[in-house]
Symmetry: C2
Subunit: 193 residues, 2 copies
């Protein structure tokens, strides 16, 4: 899972510095423009020739993975950490809202979670399964605890999460008032008599 093959010699200092700068610029570009941004454009914004950027990241997909995969893994780790929380409902809704809040500030994360349009990362399928599994465990506990509608399955919540991201991102762009996550979470709560 490390970034370098430990057998390889360390990068030259200028190369290392440039690599960092590319990652920094790519991070900003992805956050604001999403997965549709072009490789050439990132190189341009960073002030490098495309050849330089390709030297560090063999493909567009690899660059995007380097920026985004860590963030996604963090969501999964958070869900796992909450799998044994004392209040399952609180754990489930808290995690759901946290994901929406953090991802909605980053266009590329939204694109990735929503899947479909962007390039599906190679390592993405395994990660996606982990994500769904972790979410599923939170959901099941919350349902047993009576905090969430019993008729929702993991995929339902995954789709609701995606929809919530769409809504929240736009709300955020206009300085939105009521957090969309609140409305959706209310809708997922167990039905009142």
């Amino acid at each position: 899972m490390g970034d370098d093959h430990s057998t390889a010699r360390p990068l030259r200092v200028d190369a290392r510095r440039n690599r960092e700068r590319v990652l920094q610029i790519a991070q900003e570009a992805l956050a604001s423009d999403g997965l549709t941004i072009s490789f050439d454009e990132i190189a341009r914004r960073a002030g490098f020739g495309v050849g330089t950027v390709y030297r560090h990241f063999p493909t567009r997909e690899a660059l995007f993975e380097a920026v985004l995969l860590g963030r996604m893994e963090r969501f999964v780790a958070d869900a796992r950490a909450l799998a044994t929380a004392e209040d399952p409902g609180r754990a489930f809704f808290g995690w759901f809202r946290a994901v929406v809040e953090q991802a909605s500030a980053n266009q590329a994360l939204c694109d990735m979670l929503e899947g479909g349009q962007g390039p599906a990362f190679r390592s993405g399928t395994a990660l996606e399964a982990d994500f769904a599994a972790a979410l599923g465990r939170l959901l099941q506990r919350a349902q047993r605890g009576g905090a969430v509608r019993a008729d929702l399955v993991t995929e339902d919540v995954l789709d609701l999460l995606r929809g919530c991201l769409t809504a929240e991102r736009r709300a955020r762009a206009r300085g939105g008032g009521v957090p969309m996550a609140e409305v959706v979470c209310d809708g997922m709560r167990a039905h009142r008599g």
Copy 2:
């Protein structure tokens, strides 16, 4: 608003037939593939050269408008028809669910309503304003009737609608169980005690 300039002579019969076929194929292609489908691809599927299709529709955007604008206007008309319904809550939620149900079956309609990624139609801005205004009227009446949370503004509901489309479309693609619209509508209802 008519399709032809009434001063122009009628199209030759073969041209008219071809125009209809292009619209038919474009309709299907847009419904299944969304606004990202290429003009060349539509011409190919229809079995025409691109020049032929461009003869009928001067631009990609114009073709898409010809297919989609009518459907959008219908949503606005439906909302206006419900503006004086006896049960404002029922009118609001019924319209909301109907839009989600119809649009979620059509990728291009979703793209258009969600805005952002597709080409924003020239006539789209006016239509979008009409859409928002009609929705706003339904919302206000439903809120006065106590059926919907009072703290939601028109833009909130618009964003929720967009999010709901994202969720519903994916749920539909996998033969979804619980309609996402139901969850979101529940979330929009006035808070219980």
